[in-house]
């Protein structure tokens, strides 16, 4: 029986393939405690992904003085993870859909029981909080009728959003990297037009406007025009309009010439390029922010639309921020995707806890309001993509699509790199910023990459700029 290796570095990415029979024993024992009616042994043969999860969970345990309690915590966390993976496995079984669904339901019920129980004794640990969200996400896969939905009010969302910005660099990293690239590119222009794929609260442009106003070249600030894409639907349109109003007010307060317009996507989420008003003499920039913690999932259709738009308009600059994942091993469909999502959010949970170990309530709020829905969406996506006959390959990011389409990588400057490093350093030393090629920066937590910022320019630009 091999010993479980503890990875002290808090590294979640390791996916070693050593087998540990101890884990299986422990797992079977644990399951026997809680699901006496289920026969589960065939399911866990040959699982070589558990050790990695074992390693990860041990790192996540809240440190405790007493060794005994710590061991118990370890076990508990382990069990949670095992149960999660078990239910995911159950759901991923192609045959006997009905039966495995039931199995998953039972496991999830037990999970929930356990989590609620422990949360009544004391406040949940990081792992428990994470497990709860994943449990919910998996649940919504089994019970088609029940959807947890996002019941957070607007006020809660804003508060959580503010907290998120204060507690983690994800949003600022994306915004500032893109903004810096934009500033450098339009340094000599008097008019700037930015097409924003997903404006959300418009925070990015507030910072940009400040930059434009503070340029000390003696000239008045250049005129900024922002066109925001608005998804079909009354609420979406209203939100975008509201954001526009706020940005206008902010621009007025700092003396930045600014105008705002929105462009609606049609009901199938497609964008009509002709709807965008393009004025000659403006420096055109397309800004695509995806997968920031507060960005809801956007459809593939809209992604394709924006890329087509980009191809047709040939903007000066294209800034893209999206999620970055580690290389995924092939096969295993839902399970491996699920594991990837699990690891990803483990890293995020870790990063929040490391920076703010005491502020549990604040973290809890951010986790619930912001990340909870993301987890649910990601799990659902992972599930849907493995559903059906054709298993879709790993989703290709916008950066990759632009690359393939022949867009030129635009070098990210030393200033930008400096800024990114400085920024994440403000939060916690666990955040890492790495170059990935001349036009890409990756932000990660410890060794797990999380966000990728890349900058592109159109291939048909004249050389004499």
């Amino acid at each position: 029986m091999m010993e479980v290796v503890m990875d002290e570095g808090g590294d979640i990415s390791g996916c070693s393939s050593t087998t540990t029979t101890t884990i299986d024993d422990d797992l079977n024992h644990a399951l026997a405690d809680w699901s006496p009616l289920i026969v589960h042994s065939p399911m866990f043969s040959g699982t070589n992904n558990l050790p990695s999860l074992t390693e990860t969970i041990i790192d996540k345990i809240t440190p405790n003085k007493e060794v005994g309690v710590e061991v118990e915590e370890d076990n508990k966390g382990l069990r949670l993870l095992h149960l999660l993976m078990a239910s995911a496995e159950a759901l991923s079984g192609p045959t006997n859909k009905g039966k495995s669904n039931d199995l998953a339901k039972v496991i999830l019920a037990r999970l929930k029981e356990l989590l609620v129980l422990s949360s009544e004794i004391r406040s949940p640990t990081n792992m428990e909080s994470l497990a709860l969200h994943f449990t919910k996400a998996l649940e919504s896969l089994t019970y088609v009728s029940i959807s947890h939905g996002n019941t957070a009010g607007a006020g809660d969302f804003l508060t959580a959003f503010q907290l998120l910005q204060d507690m983690s660099p994800y949003i600022k990293f994306g915004h500032f990297t893109a903004n810096q690239a934009i500033i450098e590119s339009v340094a000599c222009d008097r008019r700037i037009h930015i097409i924003d794929y997903d404006i959300m609260e418009g925070v990015q442009w507030a910072a940009l406007m400040q930059d434009l106003v503070s340029k000390n070249d003696g000239l008045p600030p250049p005129h900024l025009r922002v066109t925001a894409l608005a998804r079909a639907g009354c609420k979406q349109v209203i939100n975008v309009q509201e954001t526009g109003r706020r940005l206008i007010a902010f621009a007025n307060s700092i003396g930045q010439p600014f105008s705002f317009s929105q462009c609606r996507l049609d009901s199938s989420d497609k964008l009509c390029a002709s709807r965008i008003k393009v004025v000659k003499g403006e420096a055109l920039v397309v800004n695509i922010m995806r997968h920031l913690p507060h960005s809801p999932h956007r459809s593939q259709t809209s992604i394709s639309s924006i890329i087509n738009l980009v191809a047709s308009l040939s903007p000066r600059l294209i800034t893209v921020v999206e999620e970055e994942n580690e290389e995924m091993e092939k096969g295993e469909g839902f399970i491996s995707r699920f594991r990837q999502v699990l690891h990803r959010y483990s890293a995020v949970w870790d990063s929040l806890e490391a920076g703010f170990p005491m502020q549990k309530i604040a973290r809890g709020m951010v986790e619930k309001v912001i990340f909870g829905p993301r987890i649910a969406e990601d799990v659902k996506m992972a599930f849907e993509r493995s559903d059906g006959e054709m298993e879709m390959e790993k989703e290709i990011g916008v950066a990759e699509k632009l690359n393939v389409a022949g867009f030129r990588p635009e070098k990210i400057s030393f200033f930008n790199h400096c800024q990114a490093r400085l920024l994440v350093g403000l939060f916690h030393e666990g955040y890492r910023v790495e170059e990935k090629g001349v036009n890409k920066i990756v932000l990660g937590w410890k060794s797990r990459p999380l966000l990728l910022a890349s900058v592109w320019s159109s291939p048909v630009r004249s050389l004499g700029e």
Partner: protein
């Protein structure tokens, strides 16, 4: 032949008392400059000497007395013959190194073989290769370290390499001298650029914070209207006591409005300041739930817990600059500000040599002189001068303690 008095140094035309600085960095920089000056003078002397007969110079490690041996190497004639790395020799060296795949791959032995120069020993090559590597490294290393480490690290490295190069180049041709000087300037430029980055980053963070403030303000206002209507049901049942946040308590959570200032305050330093601040803000949270989470008085500021925060330095400097001049801050802020100035440096307990860094950074504002001084004032006054925008905020915030912090953070 020193042009400067003891303990004084000229930095970009401005005299700074360097006597009491204990930093090695600073001393080395001074040494380097002294050496450079010395060499300039000696160069002049040498030029003069060219017109006169060859007279032995004062310093034995001065150039002109070199003998060209039959091996093709140029050796000096001091008691201990030292190899002189002429331009040609150095070029051959660089060729050999590049042939071998760069300074990291090449070894003295292989270089010796490739160069094929008689009389060249491993010792010569070892030391020359090391200097060459150090000379090349600052540009490469930069990508690996974080900025804050690189600031110190690179400076030290460049100082080390350039000063050692200085010593060596005393015997070498002028080409090496200008190279070393160029490296110096490169370091200076990098430092300056990093300071620029810091300034801009701060400005951007504050702009975002300001914007978020306005959003939250409006949201608070609308929610205040809705308050009477909303039943205050928590959407997050079933999670025990964690995060029972409902609309009724939104006002209390208005204290997270102070959270944005948490970030900005951090930029101004001072744990005490932030502790109190945090305490107040999380009290808001406590009111909403009955958790047993205890918020201690002396909780370390999360932003400073890792001890590394370059933003504090520049703000330290700025505050020092603005110190007496600032009339914008309210009277209640004065004592806290002075606290900030004293406390912030003590908070830095990371591995960075604070003395050296503050020294380095202290010279900078002097160098930038008047041109950026105004900019700084503008930038900071944006933060500190109460603006009409902020007036509606105050009634929204619970607790007077928070209002003055707001003044500091958002302009």
């Amino acid at each position: 032949m020193f042009l400067f008095g003891k303990g004084e140094i000229e930095v970009g035309g401005v005299y700074i008392q360097g006597r009491n600085k204990k930093s090695k960095l600073y001393k080395r920089e001074r040494q380097v400059r002294d050496k450079r000056e010395r060499r300039e003078l000696e160069k002049q002397a040498r030029d003069q000497r060219m017109f006169h007969s060859k007279k032995p110079t004062m310093n034995s490690h001065e150039r002109p007395m070199c003998v060209q041996g039959d091996s093709g190497l140029v050796l000096t004639t001091d008691p201990k013959p030292r190899l002189r790395w002429t331009v040609e020799l150095h070029d051959r060296f660089v060729d050999a190194v590049t042939q071998l795949g760069g300074p990291d791959k090449a070894t003295p032995k292989t270089i010796m073989r490739v160069m094929g120069v008689k009389g060249l020993t491993l010792y010569h090559l070892k030391s020359h290769l090391q200097k060459f590597r150090l000379g090349k490294q600052p540009h490469k290393e930069f990508n690996d370290h974080s900025v804050k480490d690189a600031t110190a690290l690179e400076l030290q490295r460049n100082m080390a390499s350039s000063s050692s190069m200085m010593g060596r180049t005393m015997n070498d041709s002028n080409v090496h001298i200008t190279e070393a000087i160029r490296m110096q300037m490169e370091v200076q430029r990098r430092l300056h650029e990093q300071l620029e980055v810091q300034k801009h980053l701060q400005m951007r963070i504050e702009a975002q914070g300001k914007y978020m403030q306005s959003i939250l303000e409006k949201a608070c206002q609308t929610l205040a209207g809705e308050n009477s209507m909303a039943g205050g049901g928590s959407p997050y049942k079933g999670l025990g006591h964690q995060g029972v946040v409902d609309i009724n308590n939104m006002k209390d959570l208005g204290s997270p409005l102070s959270f944005p200032s948490l970030q900005d305050l951090h930029l101004f330093g001072s744990t005490d300041h932030l502790d109190m601040h945090q305490h107040a803000s999380l009290d808001g949270f406590l009111q909403t739930s009955d958790t047993s989470i205890c918020i201690g008085k002396k909780r370390p500021n999360p932003y400073l817990s890792n001890g590394k925060s370059p933003m504090i330095w520049t703000d330290d400097l700025r505050l020092q600059e603005l110190g007496s001049g600032s009339t914008c801050m309210g009277s209640q802020e004065e004592p806290s500000k002075s606290d900030q100035l004293q406390i912030a440096p003590s908070v830095m307990d990371s591995g960075i040599d604070m003395d050296s860094i503050t020294d380095v950074y202290e010279t900078k504002p002097m160098i930038s002189g008047d041109s950026s001084g105004e900019k700084k004032f503008e930038g900071s006054s944006k933060l500190e001068r109460p603006s009409p925008r902020r007036v509606p905020l105050n009634p929204m915030i619970r607790g007077g303690a928070l209002s003055h912090t707001r003044n500091i953070s958002h302009g």
